[in-house]
């Protein structure tokens, strides 16, 4: 319990230091007006309007909404804090007269991403399976996937780790096929209530081939569908093949 509170305290201190470091940015409104919402979402009511020529400070960002504070040269009590939408930043200029541009969230930005995290669901042979991928985007075409899959069946459980190379065939297209090749390990353990069927956990290495499609859905989100075939090396002479179908979504950074 003590460790629990220490962790909370550390998180809090860490957070304060992050907040204290953030630099404030002052801009002047160039459009006739900008609506100020009471919270970081379009559903929050507009409670204030900033007029052309007024100065605002940009404090922080959350999901494309910016927290701002109006700058009053007469009385600090007149200063108002609220949230404006990212697109409205294009109606402001910096102190040197240069216009400010919001984060575009364009397809070009997507092509310059470094990491992806994906969650996919589907079936591993006939068992429901979920797979989590962590991806490092190396070049426009090549990326490295690390994945963990679990398929918990009625008779036994399969857990699969894998590391693979993925080749996106047409990275400049919004919808593109990809191919993947990799290797990893499969751990199969029988369920506790079927001990007589063998209690041992079987570990075997595998090779895999994947064929899939990724689609750039919107700023920050991709959808993917994939077929994956795994060839497991067993201690017997023959190899075993397992098929997996996956559908899911990715977020990228």
């Amino acid at each position: 319990m003590k460790r629990f509170f220490t962790t909370v305290f550390c998180l809090f201190v860490l957070h304060i230091s992050v907040v204290a470091n953030a630099e404030e940015l002052k801009v002047t409104v160039t459009s006739p007006y900008i609506n100020v919402h009471s919270g970081p979402a379009s559903e929050y009511p507009v409670f204030h309007v900033i007029a052309q020529g007024e100065q605002i400070e940009i404090l922080k960002e959350r999901t494309k909404w910016y927290k701002i504070r109006t700058v009053s040269h007469r009385n600090e009590d007149d200063e108002i804090e609220g949230w404006i939408y990212s697109d409205d930043l294009s109606a402001t200029m910096l102190e040197d007269g240069v216009a400010l541009m919001p984060r575009e969230g364009s397809f070009e930005d997507f092509q310059n991403r470094d990491f992806e995290v994906s969650l996919m669901g589907g079936a591993l042979d006939s068992t429901a399976a979920i797979t989590l991928f962590g991806t490092w985007v190396w070049t426009k075409n090549l990326s490295v996937d690390a994945s963990y899959t679990q398929a918990l069946g009625n008779f036994s459980d399969n857990k699969i780790w894998s590391l693979r190379m993925r080749h996106t065939v047409f990275p400049e297209w919004k919808i593109s096929p990809y191919l993947a090749l990799g290797t990893g390990e499969i751990r199969t353990s029988p369920n506790a209530n079927l001990v007589q069927s063998g209690d041992e956990v079987r570990v075997s290495s595998h090779y895999e081939v994947g064929l899939g499609v990724r689609y750039y859905l919107m700023d920050g989100v991709l959808i993917r569908a994939e077929y994956r075939s795994l060839i497991a090396e067993t201690d017997r002479d023959e190899q075993e093949r397992i098929d997996q179908w996956l559908v899911g979504a990715s977020i990228y950074f």
Binding site: I58, G121, S126, F155, D157, I251
Partner: protein, 223 residues
Amino acid sequence: MSLFFSNFYPIQPQNRFSILFASVFVLLSISGVTYAQQNELPEIDPGVERRSIDEFDIDSENVEIGIFAGVINIEDFGSDVLLGARLAYHINENFFVEASYGQATAGETSFEVLSGGAPFLTDDQRDYVYYDLSMGYNLNGEVFFSENWVFNSDFFFTLGAGNTEFADDERFTISAGAGYRLLVTDYLSVRFDVRDHVFNSDIIGEEKSVHNLTFTMSVSFFF
């Protein structure tokens, strides 16, 4: 059918349901995210010099980390204290994805209490651990405690899938729930969550689907 993966018997009705659920869950999440996107890019005049907001160091708060404590009703094993942690990423103003981890120690079944002995599970087997990945949808709002004392808040729904480890057995678990988040400041929130965790279990004999409800209070930080 192969001998090696002897678990792959013909599809069981509950497996078929799980597969269907996993697919539908993912597809629903995707269509929901698309629906939430309604904003277009502004028109940009190429003649004007511009600097991107990305060049400035603006604190971005899209990740939420939290710890929770509460009660879990483990079917047949009574109500117990639950402790855990969550990590969420807010994709846009409505959607978020969240990973949760929780642990509890199961109590005794009515049979164990009434028979006055003969423990059903060992102490180690009573450890109940779960994790899941969920998709959440926020209904944004405000709460007015008085005229000048106003907080942002949201009511949210979650739907997810994961794993439950209990009595030396691991099960594919579906979780669904709702909660309320009160933002005390921009970056500090207090949450109340109710979730149902559903999985198939044969711990007390025949295979059945069990519902384990959790009620938790949590404190979370956005950073």
